[in-house]
């Protein structure tokens, strides 16, 4: 649970989402604390999955929090899909974002995907086979030349705070049937404080149209 996952999981827990399943293989590092507001200094060196369960359970004891110390990849993600209604991508890499998009479509699960860098963020909510998906907007990094192994990105701590909060908002609104970001990519610029929706037309050649 990183910069996006921290606020997102806190708000979903506080909102009383019935059950949260969280997968993270990382150990808390002091450098994480600038943006990962789930944690504090006394927890450095511990597994994030373990801390996350403690923090969220203390926030709301009435919901079921399941955490797993694991990597997300093509094989492992299948283990965690059963019984889920929604996937929230809070990853920090393109491979996972494309994987989440793909499995959401294959399993007909709604999902929200966000990314951040510096003062900028982008977020899209996907209704499989009905709305435009992540790959409608962004080319598959395996087929195109986007470097999936680019190094760490600079980030202002508040940026994932806002985008992670927007992810929680999208989950809540989508679950309640309220207007959301289907067929729109929201671009957030925190330098000039602008929020712009880019309407996206579903790509007929995309994996979500097959």
């Amino acid at each position: 649970m990183g910069g996006l996952g921290s606020p997102c999981s806190l708000y979903l827990t506080a909102a009383g989402i019935k059950e949260l399943t969280i997968i993270d293989n990382d150990v808390l590092d002091l450098s994480n604390l600038q943006r990962q507001i789930l944690y504090n200094e006394t927890q450095v060196g511990r597994d994030k999955a373990e801390i996350t369960k403690e923090v969220l359970s203390n926030l709301n004891s009435e919901i079921q929090i399941k955490t797993y110390k694991d990597y997300i990849d093509e094989n492992s993600i299948k283990k965690y899909l059963k019984g889920q209604d929604f996937i929230v991508d809070c990853s920090d890499n393109l491979q996972t974002k494309f994987l989440v998009n793909k499995v959401a479509i294959e399993n007909n699960m709604k999902c929200v995907i966000a990314g951040i860098k510096d003062f900028y963020g982008q977020i899209i909510t996907i209704n499989p086979k009905k709305s435009a998906c992540y790959q409608c907007v962004f080319p598959d990094p395996e087929k195109d030349s986007i470097d999936p192994n680019a190094g760490p990105l600079p980030v202002i701590g508040v940026t994932p705070g806002i985008l992670g909060t927007l992810e929680a908002l999208e989950v809540i609104k989508t679950t309640l049937g309220l207007p959301n970001l289907y067929d729109n990519l929201l671009m957030v610029n925190l330098l000039d404080l602008s929020f712009n929706k880019i309407q996206v037309v579903k790509d007929e050649k995309c994996i979500c149209s097959k």
Binding site: D92, G115, Q122
Partner: protein
């Protein structure tokens, strides 16, 4: 279509691409202009791997795409961090 075979195209730049120009500009371009001419005008590197170009919400636009009158071009990066 405007006079002298020119077309009107709205260009929107997002996130760190704003270093190349304002967030929204309406350009008068020669009929037959392509995305390449816009990238050249803004001095945006066309081989930028993270560059996403949409025309009227349609993705996966190549640099040789011929623009039409009234088109809206959105140019933005893919943002991977979390």
């Amino acid at each position: 279509m405007t006079k002298n075979n020119s077309i009107s195209v709205t260009v929107k730049l997002f996130a760190d691409l704003r270093i190349y120009g304002p967030d929204r500009t309406v350009l008068a371009l020669q009929e037959g202009s392509t995305i390449k001419s816009i990238l050249k005008r803004y001095k945006i590197p066309k081989d930028d791997k993270n560059l996403i170009i949409m025309v009227n919400g349609r993705p996966h636009i190549q640099s040789d795409f011929v623009l039409g009158d009234g088109d809206t071009v959105a140019i933005f990066p893919i943002i991977a961090g979390g």
